[in-house]
Symmetry: C2
């Protein structure tokens, strides 16, 4: 299906079984920045259901129940994908659904659509959020935009982000910090190298510290977060006959959600004590919050042993709003963004069934 | 003086004292690629002298005596400069002549012009060469072009390259070799860094070897050449959230003229044993050849203690043609290419006087 012009419309039938609905959502191409047609289709599909209040903000669609329940849960997922790689329309082969978005994360989008339409009287009120621009720079992120401008639309006691976790609860997420470690030198002609100070040679000390670094495994609320400190870039050198006067090592620190950003920054400065450290980027992690009653009830309902989420995800945006949040969705995260992205549709069915059971169980 | 259009002509008066002639040569701007006006002026100035046979090749001018002497000396210098930096026309302040080219190397150009014009019956035949494009990539070098296409024009027993040496004989030159040391890794998301192998961290071993490296001081024909092995560039990293799968360290080895290029290459491969080493550039050094009778006579005539030339110069092109060659010329080489390039004109006068004495002494 080729889309993209403003006049294109697409229809989603929420009565389809969830594998077929996933395929239909995937086939509405929605690479980041091009989510309009899919957002239109979602809004149009939800409007007929009288138990939902549907709101649109840009290419983000919000649907709320308002039954006066004691608790409110937010169920969120992004509707954009990374660029298509010849893997649309989707193909079905036995239980496998193959193509862009099948893992990251249109299975989760389809599950949330089915729950919104068909769980008419959930045991806790639900705010469903389908948002745009998750796969690109953070400033464009639809969930982040709502959190900044209308946080009341995201208010709740607990949030579920339907990123692919292979249908296992993954609690919270690590924080992430990027910094440049600057190593100075003094330029000279390389034929008279002893007149200068080689910044690249001096950077060896920075790499030595990185190699010696022992990352911590940190227990937070019963889940173990694996930290890491990695060089992600290095650059130095002016010309083939010049002793370099500067070498910059870019590092990425993934830190447990028990640390604040300030603590993480102090830690990195400590590791590279004696060198100039310039912070370039930082985002806090999210505690798993599984000891919160709503989260604990969810874990109990969906079963399995929760794991720590290592990568940063949008759960941190809920955490920053003071809500416990976890990741739970169909699909093997290792296949996200791959050209052979594919999902076992039985996993999507399982997710739908477990979340439906939880939403319809006595609150 | 503004030059550059094809119709511009300039005149050089070879009867001027050498400081004034140097100033006149400097004021004919001749940044690499723009040497035509100066080459024209040199050719025109030399043509009236019946003891000289003047030849032009591109913007290189050659003038030869042909007196049937037992020996032939080549006296060579480049006529181009690095770009002007607001330092033309030249200024005179006491004994200092200030401006682009005063050091590198229009003092030497002026000395050679004066010798060519006024030493009518030298004790050894002389081939003077004023060549273009020394300050840019080697493929354009006028002396290199002659050596490849008409080496007979450069034939001789001994060569003097009039690069700035502060009027001290600098013998031969080190060779130079560049290579890339490739460090492989395996990409992974930096949130799951343990799934990958960090090429930048692994490059620490390369930097450790560079820091541990003990460069040799090598005695060649009585002069000591200081070797060096330096990183001149480093690059690695794909994105801020990816464990890099490759890091490349560019190294420059400056090696004594007693080593061949093949030996130098084997040495570098040995230092980085276990890593892929890709040769990117190599040029042999030049032995000082001061034990050659013509060179020894020159050193005796000009006086002072000869030094080893550390940087690679065009003397290596003569060495490759089987001729001993040395560097000798006015100007402090540390000031070459600087915005405040300046020379003490007494040093230019000294060079002219000593070379004239040598050329007129009993052969």
């Amino acid at each position: 299906m080729r889309v993209g012009s403003a006049s294109v419309t697409a229809r989603l039938d929420l009565d389809l079984p969830v594998p077929d609905l996933t395929a239909a959502v995937c086939d509405i191409e929605s690479v980041s920045g091009n989510e309009k047609v899919l957002a239109d289709a979602i809004g149009r599909a939800l409007t007929p259901y009288p138990h939902l209040e549907v709101t649109r903000r840009g290419n983000t669609v919000i649907a709320r129940t308002d039954l006066g329940r004691a608790e409110r849960t937010v169920i969120a997922g992004h509707i954009d994908t990374v660029p298509v790689a010849g893997n649309l329309p989707v193909r079905r082969a036995g239980p496998m659904l193959w193509g862009r978005g099948t893992v990251d994360m249109k299975g989760g989008v389809a599950v949330a659509l089915r729950l919104a339409a068909h769980v008419v009287a959930p045991s806790r009120d639900v705010t469903y959020v389908w948002y745009d621009n998750e796969e690109v720079e953070s400033a464009k992120n639809g969930l982040g935009r709502l959190a900044r401008t209308e946080p009341e639309l995201l208010a709740g006691d607990f949030a579920i982000l339907m990123e692919p976790t292979a249908a296992v609860v993954e609690g919270g997420c690590n924080g992430t910090l990027r910094a440049d470690v600057i190593v100075p030198g003094r330029a000279a002609h390389s034929a008279r190298w002893w007149m200068g100070t080689n910044a690249i040679h001096a950077a060896g000390e920075v790499l030595d510290r990185l190699r010696r670094y022992q990352p911590a495994d940190v227990d937070v609320d019963g889940l173990v977060y694996r930290e890491g400190l990695s060089a992600v870039g290095i650059a130095g050198g002016i010309a083939g006959n010049v002793i370099p006067d500067r070498c910059v090592i870019s590092v990425n620190y993934r830190f447990a959600p028990s640390r604040t950003e300030a603590e993480a920054q102090a830690h990195v400065r400590g590791v590279f004590d004696g060198f100039e450290v310039v912070l370039t980027d930082s985002a806090p992690g999210a505690r798993p919050g599984l000891n919160h009653p709503a989260a604990a009830a969810f874990v109990l309902a969906v079963g399995g042993a929760p794991r720590a989420k290592q990568g940063w995800t949008d759960v941190a945006r809920f955490s920053a709003l003071g809500m416990p949040a976890l990741n739970f969705g169909p699909g093997d995260p290792q296949l996200a963004h791959h050209d052979d992205e594919q999902v076992d549709v039985r996993e999507i069915e399982t997710c739908e069934q477990r979340m439906r059971d939880w939403l319809t169980a006595g609150g």
